[in-house]
């Protein structure tokens, strides 16, 4: 029986000026660190945890949630303005965000990212508040075989992103998957392709590969184009129409299905422990492109591309709390840090949490909603500042971007080796781009690769040669079926249409 007194009491606890202050501090800090490549909200949360000891549980968690949510918005800022994702979650946002900046519409791109991010986040929060226990039960049914089927489905969606050459797309995906196998193999823990470097035991650092493939080649390209006096990184005409600076209601409404689809993808993937928001963003982008009436405009500054990625990666943050609060399983690193903070304050997450700490949990839900609203208003104020910054000349902007990439990767990987790896992938990314091999397919395959191999290994061990067991796994069967449909729909049918 739902006790409305507990629900109302929890929300009342949350909606105080005291909590509002901590959520605001968290959001502002999150947006700032999210915009600095490599630092990210997770680092800021980890640093902030000891400082929350002195606070009561609710403001402490409210602050950490603010940092996490603010970081999701902040990560999109450098992704859009200088093609350098502030966080790995924002890697997919560069695909259409940066072209929009180059087209002289950075403010529009930033605002669309903000609105989509807040919408996606709010959607997953509402799902979390209303149907968390139900979704947790479904997520719990996702064993290794179902996860593997989900990975196969995710790979099948890549078929829609290979562009005008299927052979190049397959090669790019295979290379991405190959690089994902660097490090210890999941079954026997034997080292592979480490070439004597112990740093590679954990595999290639995600942040090195993402920045190396997506950001650094573009920085070198733009620096190489400058001969003599450099112009502003983005020239915004003073006579620019008002429509190019803002997102009208009609534009936002035209993206409603894209945002909804992204939010659903993000919420579903976020509820499954271990799947990160980068995968959700790329899957959402791929489906948005494939279902668009004008797929060729994607990658050239289509506002739907930003809406798709930002709604999906932000929807993951709320959904990640579903397995955490209901089962005690953290969905990602940010959720793990929130669990740590809860436990430090004497709260044990798990199935009994709603029963034992109902008021605190509904207070937490209240802070989630509060963080969303503050994210929107703080974001709108902050975006004006960011949009002014790119009025600086290219020489300064791209030198800054290069330095931020180096520092960001150094901090994330804990050494210069990771920066070296980033430069290796920058070279690879430059050549792949020059010869028309899809970088985005490579990056998606790399992101999914590790989880793909792990779930394949676990599935093969569970099946133990008896493939009839698959028939007893309806969720996996549905996902395999969807993968077949998606290869036909996104790959074969689209190619036939082009011909």
């Amino acid at each position: 029986m739902i006790d409305f007194a507990i629900i109302l009491g929890g929300f009342a606890d949350a909606l105080t000026l005291y909590n509002l202050f901590f959520v605001l501090c968290g959001v502002v800090l999150g947006q700032f660190v999210g915009a600095v490549p490599g630092v990210g909200p997770v680092t800021a949360m980890a640093i902030a945890i000891p400082f929350t000891f002195a606070l009561d549980p609710l403001p402490a968690i409210a602050f950490l949630i603010g940092v996490n949510k603010g970081g999701l918005v902040g990560g999109a800022v450098p992704a859009i303005l200088i093609n350098t994702p502030g966080t790995p979650d924002a890697a997919a946002t560069t695909l259409d965000g940066y072209p929009m900046t180059k087209n002289g519409k950075p403010e529009k791109a930033l605002k669309m990212a903000l609105y989509s991010s807040v919408t996606g986040d709010a959607f997953s929060d509402v799902v979390l508040i209303t149907v968390a226990p139900l979704i947790a039960m479904v997520a719990l049914k996702m064993g290794p075989i179902e996860i593997f089927a989900l990975m196969v489905f995710a790979f099948s969606i890549i078929a829609g992103l290979v562009g005008d050459s299927m052979s190049k797309g397959i090669a790019a995906a295979a290379f991405g998957l190959f690089f994902a196998t660097v490090g210890l193999d999941p079954e026997n823990s034997t080292p592979r392709f480490i070439f004597g470097h112990f740093e590679l035991y954990d595999g290639l650092p995600l942040v090195s590969v993402a920045l190396g493939m997506l950001a650094v080649p573009e920085i070198f390209r733009r620096l190489s184009m400058i001969r003599g006096k450099s112009m502003a990184a983005v020239t915004i005409s003073k006579t620019q129409k008002k429509e190019d600076r803002r997102v009208s209601w009609a534009e936002y409404w035209s993206c409603r299905y894209t945002i909804l689809r992204g939010s659903v993808i993000g919420t579903i993937l976020g509820a499954i422990p271990g799947l990160d928001s980068s995968a959700a963003a790329f899957m959402s982008y791929a489906t948005a492109k494939q279902t668009s009436r004008d797929p060729d405009s994607f990658g050239k500054g289509n506002i739907h591309g930003i809406a798709a990625t930002e709604s999906a990666n932000s929807a993951v943050s709320g959904a990640n709390l579903i397995p955490m609060l209901t089962l005690g399983i953290p969905g990602n690193i940010a959720a793990a840090l929130i669990i740590t903070a809860l436990m430090i304050h004497g709260v044990q997450p798990g199935p009994l949490l709603f029963h034992e700490q109902g008021r605190l949990i509904y207070g937490l839900f209240g802070t989630l909603l509060m963080a969303n609203i503050l994210n929107l208003f703080t974001g709108l104020l902050g975006l004006r500042l960011w949009a002014k910054i790119i009025g600086a000349p290219e020489s300064f902007i791209f030198s800054t971007a290069l330095l931020l990439c180096i520092v960001g990767v150094y901090i994330s990987t804990g050494g210069l080796f990771g920066v070296g790896v980033m430069f290796f992938f920058a070279l690879l990314g430059y050549f792949m781009n020059a010869f028309g091999y899809s970088i985005i397919v490579f990056v998606i395959a790399f992101f999914l690769g590790e989880r793909f191999e792990l779930s394949l290994s676990q599935s093969l061990n569970i099946l133990d040669g008896d493939y009839a067991i698959l028939l007893t796994r309806p969720v996996a069967l549905v996902l395999f079926g969807l993968a077949i449909v998606s290869v036909y729909w996104f790959g074969i049918r689209t190619n036939k249409k082009k011909e």
Partner: protein, 139 residues
Amino acid sequence: MTLNRLSGLVVAIMGLSLLFWIIPHQTEIVDSGWLKPATLPKITSIFIIIAGMLHFIFPTGKAEFDIEFSLRVGLFFVISTIGLYLMNLIGFIMATPILISVIMAMIKERRPFWLIAGILLLPASIWFCVDFLLNKPLP
């Protein structure tokens, strides 16, 4: 033979070198288990070879490779790599102004304000935010 077609051959050769040279030397042979360490890498390298050969025989898409421009990109790559080496040698605070100075010289930035901002203020502000505020050590 076009560069686009040739890229397929290069990819196929890379796939072959992975399959017959790198994978055997960089993976361990294991007798137990369903998924051997080399299984997935081998599958991916076979896909790379097939895709490369297919592209060599039936080229699709296009390649836009400008040698002069790529050499300039390569120069920035070399400068950045040397900068990285210097960071390891003399530290971030000393190496970064040198790296940015060289980049600014390469792109012929002459305006004093932006030179000071890039060479001095930028490294100093990064050091302040990362090393001082966040307490994360820089190289």
